[in-house]
């Protein structure tokens, strides 16, 4: 059945309710809501969340935006919380202590801080052990909750409060870690990179696959932050689109090791179009800093080409 947002919204009420305190123009709530909408109505979820914007803005005692079961403990361990709950589910189901017809899914959310950095070990461990769960990283490219500090997901040259663009050092001097590839290296049944564009089709469909794939699955979803990136709050969906059209954030999935790029722009846009509307890259547009844009473009091109190559190689080898 073809994807139809209107129909989905009519038949699947949001499991992430309004009234949360995330900022206007933030990409993360869109991710949370879309991922949870991919659950079948009759299924139940145990959501685990790392400390971060998404947690502190959605579950302030005594209020919660989560209609499913939810647990938060700390910053670096959303994956291990899910893993423990999933192990409990297996044990209790085996012993007949929960109804046999109950179908509970385990979904963890973490920002790039809680996923790329402090939570990487917990994530890697849970994925390697093969828990039947989905880990969703909403990547906003810095530690936004504590006030925009650089993370290993922060793109090169970005101005953050711990990699400020100064007179001598022009922002973050290191390239962005490629976490999606690291997760592919775990040989998971399902890994995907997504974003909320085009009526959320890509994100919804990948979430559905991730949730209903037996075993561990990982979704890396770019989730822009108006405070940290410095774009007008009404520009969220446009920024998302530019991230994809410039190939800064390619959309792809890796199913049992086989790469599939789910969207290839016909005319790849120059990276300036993505960088320009963002305050964090403002200094790159000052006269004399053209080299920074050039370098950024080269890096984007290199990574895109690598992805194209991987798609070709992995599909070729399995055809033989």
């Amino acid at each position: 059945m073809a994807y139809n947002l209107k129909e989905i919204m009519a038949t699947k009420p949001s499991r992430f309710t309004a009234g949360h305190r995330m900022c206007a123009g933030c990409g993360a709530p869109v991710v949370g809501r879309t991922v949870l909408r991919a659950l079948k109505n009759e299924d139940h979820a145990v959501v685990s969340c790392a400390t971060g914007c998404m947690e502190v803005s959605t579950f302030i005692y005594p209020y919660t935006s989560w209609t499913d079961s939810f647990i938060h403990t700390a910053f670096e361990c959303a994956a291990a919380n899910s893993a423990g709950a999933e192990a409990a589910y297996k044990a209790l189901k085996k012993q007949g202590k929960i109804p046999q017809d109950q179908n509970t899914k385990f979904i963890a959310f973490g920002g790039d801080g809680g996923t790329y950095d402090i939570g990487l070990q917990s994530l890697s461990g849970a994925m390697e052990r093969g828990h039947d769960m989905v880990y969703v990283c909403y990547d906003n490219g810095a530690y936004m909750n504590t006030g925009i500090q650089r993370s290993s997901a922060t793109p090169k040259f970005a101005d953050t409060t711990t990699s400020p663009a100064g007179k001598v050092i022009p922002g973050k001097m290191q390239s962005r870690k490629d976490l999606t590839q690291i997760m592919v290296g775990h040989h998971l049944p399902y890994v995907a990179q997504s974003i909320a564009i085009n009526n959320f089709k890509d994100l919804y469909e990948k979430s559905e696959k991730a949730i209903y794939t037996q075993g561990p699955a990982f979704l890396n979803v770019l989730a822009p932050c108006p405070r940290g990136w410095g774009y007008p709050t009404d520009m969220l969906m446009e920024i998302n689109k530019l991230a994809v059209e410039t190939c800064y954030w390619p959309l792809y999935e890796v199913i049992d090791g086989k790469y599939h790029i789910t969207y290839k722009p016909t005319n790849k846009k120059p990276i300036e179009e993505f960088l320009k509307p963002q305050r964090r890259f403002k200094h790159m547009f000052q006269p004399g800093n053209e080299w920074m844009i050039e370098e950024f473009q080269k890096e984007v091109d290199k990574r895109w080409q690598e992805l194209l190559d991987l798609e070709e190689i992995t599909n070729k080898s399995t055809e033989e």
């Binding site: 139940h44 145990v46 685990s48 947690e55 502190v56 579950f59 302030i60 005692y61 005594p62 919660t64 989560w66 209609t67 499913d68 079961s69 939810f70 647990i71 938060h72 403990t73 700390a74 670096e76 361990c77 291990a80 919380n81 899910s82 893993a83 423990g84 709950a85 999933e86 192990a87 409990a88 589910y89 297996k90 044990a91 209790l92 085996k94 012993q95 202590k97 929960i98 109804p99 109950q102 509970t104 070990q121 917990s122 890697s124 461990g125 849970a126 390697e128 052990r129």
Partner: protein
């Protein structure tokens, strides 16, 4: 009438876990507790338990997975030592604040640094105010018995707090001694099934756990946690009574060994109590009225009862197997002396830091403490109350 066996302390802990048959065990190896998850994973591999064993990648994840499992509605257990507990530290506090009755075997070992794998109590002392019930065990039998009682205490509605059973690394964890085990069915009916009121896997009642808890509520939640700890005292007494009826083995908040008519006494925890009992017997032969107070229930701390039990003495020595590096004395010393003070018990008390990093504590060392106490009793007190036993200065 029980099963007579010979087991190490770690084996005893693992067998207790097998008989308890928890739903989830998540653990990471660390000396000297490694054997517990090792033995336990054999029970899992051989289908002797219903447990899901989660071989996590760190102790932080061990405690986190236990939290996830217990919150989901399962009985979760783990085991660790020293730096393993240090790595769990963040989650240790979270486990108790979420009121999750997780049960842990803590095989006591010196916390780094420098690195040392042998016994002292610095690991346990680091979490003494984290909201975990802490029971100490002199030998394999007590480690086993305390574990069998653990869930009934921790899961009690008036308590709902995690619990750790401590025993001394290597000294009891790796020494094989006689032990009397209960039959599996008796353990099963004694421990009972876990029926949490609210849990994540209850599809009919979704709940949210672990909020951002700000100025308007955190204080009350912490007060409730403290109430749970205060309530634990009564529950521990009740469960110990029930256990005594089942096994004939009597457990109190602390053991008083020849303390009634004693004039001088040592207060200590875990295996050192065994050595001390031997010394007390020897001294008694020479007419010296020595006694021992061995703490079993360290958290909650039985302040009134301890003050009362020590009130008739002429001098008391508190033995701390961890230095607090605070310029004031060990943790047990501070708890005992403040208990005495607030209960208006005025007896000269001295503190000995001993056995650090597995330094052997012999009967001669213990005897020297009693000799010191005899002098203090005669002199009516001392200013030199912060002492060391067996250190080269």
């Amino acid at each position: 009438m029980g099963i007579r066996e010979r087991l190490s302390g770690n084996e005893a802990a693992a067998i207790a876990m097998k008989q308890i048959n928890p739903d989830v065990v998540a653990a990471f190896p660390i000396t000297p507790s490694t054997e517990i998850p090792q033995y336990f994973s054999t029970f899992v591999s051989n289908g002797q338990v219903d447990t899901e064993f989660v071989a996590v990648e760190s102790e932080h994840s061990a405690m986190t997975a236990c939290i996830g499992a217990e919150a989901a509605g399962a009985r979760a257990m783990t085991a660790t030592s020293a730096n393993g507990l240090s790595l769990m530290w963040e989650q240790i506090y979270i486990a108790s604040s979420l009121r999750l009755p997780i049960v842990m075997s803590l095989v006591n070992r010196a916390v780094s640094g420098p690195l040392n794998i042998h016994n002292d109590h610095s690991d346990a002392m680091g979490v003494r105010d984290s909201g975990w019930i802490m029971l100490f065990s002199e030998n394999n039998q007590e480690a086993y018995d305390n574990l069998l009682m653990a869930h009934k205490i921790a899961e009690n509605k008036d308590v709902q707090l995690p619990l750790m059973v401590c025993q001394d690394g290597f000294i009891t964890s790796h020494s094989i001694e006689n032990i009397e085990l209960l039959e599996d069915d008796k353990v099963k009916s004694f421990v009972g099934t876990y029926k949490p009121e609210h849990y994540l896997l209850n599809k009919e009642e979704p709940i949210a756990i672990g909020p951002l808890d700000l100025q308007a509520y955190l204080f009350e939640h912490k007060y409730q946690q403290a109430e749970g700890m205060r309530n634990a005292k009564k529950v521990i007494a009740e469960v110990s009574k029930e256990f005594e009826e089942l096994t004939g083995r009597k457990y109190s908040f602390f053991e008083e060994y020849k303390l009634d008519d004693a004039e001088i006494a040592i207060v200590c925890m875990n295996s050192t109590a065994g050595t001390t009992k031997y010394v007390v017997d020897q001294l008694r032969k020479n007419g010296i009225k020595a006694g021992l107070l061995k703490i079993r229930m360290f958290r909650p701390f039985p302040t009134e009862e301890i003050a009362k039990a020590l009130s008739h003495l002429k001098a008391v020595a508190v033995l701390d197997k961890a230095d607090s590096l605070n310029g004031a004395g060990g943790a047990l010393f501070e708890d005992v002396t403040s208990s005495m003070f607030v209960n208006k018990v005025q007896v000269p008390v001295v503190n000995y830091i001993y056995g650090i990093g597995g330094r052997d504590t012999t009967s001669k060392d213990i005897e020297s403490v009693y000799n010191d106490l005899a002098k203090i009793a005669d002199n009516g007190g001392t200013d030199d109350f912060y002492r060391y036993l067996g250190v080269r200065k």
